[in-house]
């Protein structure tokens, strides 16, 4: 147990570096963004207070709504496929595999790959003219991804890329949780005559519940801020059709110098993340209480 500390002064020097970094780089700037979002301003011009004008303008801007739609599509598509694949792999690994440690390392490998290189490899594999995947698909008479012209295909590419990059995370969370389930439970279920499917439904699923929710929330929050994959794949084009919220924010701020709407977009992102985070913190608390009993 941690001991109650009466003299906070003694520990402050140990905490100060972390708290100063966070306050000066994340918290104060984020609060300043609130102020920015309530003013009309552009780079090098003095701002004027406009209330919630920027929020109304952002939320009614078709480009923003389109970007939001794309983001939600990518998040829903990618995160849930990740979950299903990660779960299947966790069960496969937990069921016993030869060379399990080596296979585990192989599955982790994409974690080391930067978004830039991942985009480079996927752009080549799916290149409309020379891409091996494109050529293979078309020689088999299958439809190909025309991602440089067709916005929906570009979003599918981004989705696939996202899944490839983040599957290791989802898999590890689920696999660790699956390994934490005591073997006795499966033994007991077997003695009671349960089939493998029964054991999955009655033992595995309920006990993996918290891990599933945690993996999902983390991935919702992190997938929602997706920027590099989209920017490097399409720069949001053609004609802003594949923008996501973070790319929209970047364009507003650094291309159109519209700091007000960019700031409003930023706070919409923060609020969306915090709403999801509230769910996460609530679950952690519950889990802590659950462990104490």
């Amino acid at each position: 147990m941690r001991s109650k500390t009466k003299n906070i002064g003694q520990v402050v020097p140990f905490l100060a570096p972390v708290q100063i970094l966070i306050l000066s780089v994340i918290v104060v700037p984020s609060l300043y963004v609130v102020w920015l979002s309530l003013n009309a301003s552009t780079f090098g011009q003095s701002p004027t207070f406009v209330g919630f004008d920027n929020y109304t303008r952002t939320l009614t801007d078709p480009a923003f709504l389109h970007a939001l739609g794309n983001t939600v599509l990518i998040v829903v598509f990618a995160v849930h496929i990740e979950l299903v694949l990660g779960m299947a792999m966790a069960l496969l690994f937990a069921g016993g595999l030869p060379f399990r440690r080596i296979l585990l390392v192989a599955v982790l490998a994409p974690y080391a790959v930067s978004e830039v290189i991942a985009v480079a490899m996927w752009r080549f594999l799916f290149d409309p003219d020379v891409g091996p995947v494109t050529i293979t698909l078309s020689s088999l008479g299958l439809p190909v991804l025309d991602w440089s012209f067709e916005p929906s295909h570009a979003l599918i590419m981004v989705g696939l890329l996202t899944i490839w990059l983040h599957l290791p995370f989802t898999f590890i969370i689920l696999y660790a949780a699956r390994l934490a389930i005591p073997k006795d439970l499966y033994e007991a279920a077997r003695i009671d005559g349960a089939t493998a499917y029964d054991a999955f439904r009655r033992v595995t699923m309920p006990l993996l519940g918290p891990a599933i929710v945690i993996a999902l929330l983390f991935r919702y929050i992190f997938a929602f801020r997706i920027f590099s994959e989209v920017w490097l794949m399409t720069q949001g084009g053609p004609a802003r059709s594949t923008e996501v919220v973070a790319v929209y924010l970047y364009q507003e701020a650094f291309r159109f110098n519209a700091f007000g709407t960019a700031a409003a977009t930023a706070w919409i992102m923060v609020v969306a993340s915090l709403v999801l985070a509230a769910g996460y913190v609530f679950l952690l608390r519950k889990q802590v209480v659950g462990n104490a009993h």
């Binding site: 001991s3 570096p17 970094l21 966070i22 780089v25 994409p110 091996p132 490097l232 970047y250 992102m269």
Partner: protein
């Protein structure tokens, strides 16, 4: 009974094969292609037997010299961010592990919440400020940004790992007259090495690969390797795939080896980071 066992075995092998192809094929493809002569890169099905060549590396050296400056910048920024993140989170994690008060508990919650703010949000106010104080396009700005976005996870992780070190050890040291700082350096740091390595994996991988902050805050002097590679992808006169793969291989190999070597710490960090708070 026996046939069903064989079927299950076959199904498992097929699944393992699919997983291996999915995870490793794109990586293997890039690394192999970086050594393939000219047209062999475009062969379908991909050629696995070829005469390896260094021609793309030669061209990378002569035409994209700034890629090597980029690598150098990436190395400086990665080392700097890792050292900064580890020292600060270890000392904070130590205090959070050994002490408790309403203020401290509230500030842990604060750390967890801050971790969830999207990084792009802070670029808006920081961009003009960084320009104004002349830190634009320097290593320092990237080091501070990268470290800061990992100190909250780092602190929570270090607290979890330090929690496992028996309190009696630091109490004994303190009875012998050691200060908090000495206890931290002599007792906690050596025993918390697995935690430190877990934090290091996160920060190293992030800092070495990061794109968004580097894209916004650097131009020439501090430009990192991923940024140079992104310029190769977007090059107007068509992509020179051989050179792009050569650069990608050089950027990827060190971090890939690092993750492979540290896989246990990465797994421990991922699970502790997501489920403890």
């Amino acid at each position: 009974m026996r046939t069903s066992k064989v079927l299950v075995g076959l199904g498992k092998s097929a699944a393992v094969g699919a997983i291996l192809i999915w995870s490793l094929f794109p990586i293997a493809f890039i690394i192999m292609s970086a050594f393939k002569p000219g047209q062999d890169i475009f062969a379908v099905p991909p050629r696995f037997v070829f005469t390896p060549t260094l021609q793309h590396y030669g061209k990378l050296w002569s035409e994209w010299g700034m890629f090597f400056d980029g690598l150098f910048n990436s190395a400086i920024v990665t080392v700097g961010a890792t050292v900064l993140a580890i020292t600060t989170s270890t000392s904070a994690g130590y205090v959070y592990s050994r002490n408790s008060s309403r203020f401290l508990d509230a500030s842990v919650l604060f750390l967890i919440v801050v971790r969830l703010i999207p990084p792009i949000v802070v670029t808006l106010p920081l961009f003009p400020i960084v320009n104004a104080i002349g830190l634009n396009d320097t290593h320092v700005v990237l080091i501070v940004l990268y470290a800061t976005f990992f100190v909250s996870l780092g602190t929570v992780l270090m607290r979890t790992f330090i929690d496992q070190i028996p309190r009696e050890l630091d109490e004994a040291a303190q009875i012998d007259g050691a200060t908090r700082l000495t206890t931290l350096r002599r007792i906690i740091v050596p025993l918390a090495a697995p935690g430190i390595l877990a934090v290091a994996v996160f920060v190293v991988v992030f800092a070495w690969n990061e794109f968004l902050f580097a894209f916004i805050f650097t131009a020439t002097n501090a430009k990192t390797a991923p940024l140079v590679i992104s310029e190769m992808i977007g090059s107007i006169d068509g992509v020179d795939w051989g050179v792009l793969f050569a650069a990608s291989t050089i950027q990827l190999i060190p971090v890939l080896l690092f993750v492979i070597l540290m896989n246990r710490h990465l797994v421990a960090g991922l699970t502790a980071g997501a489920t403890k708070g």
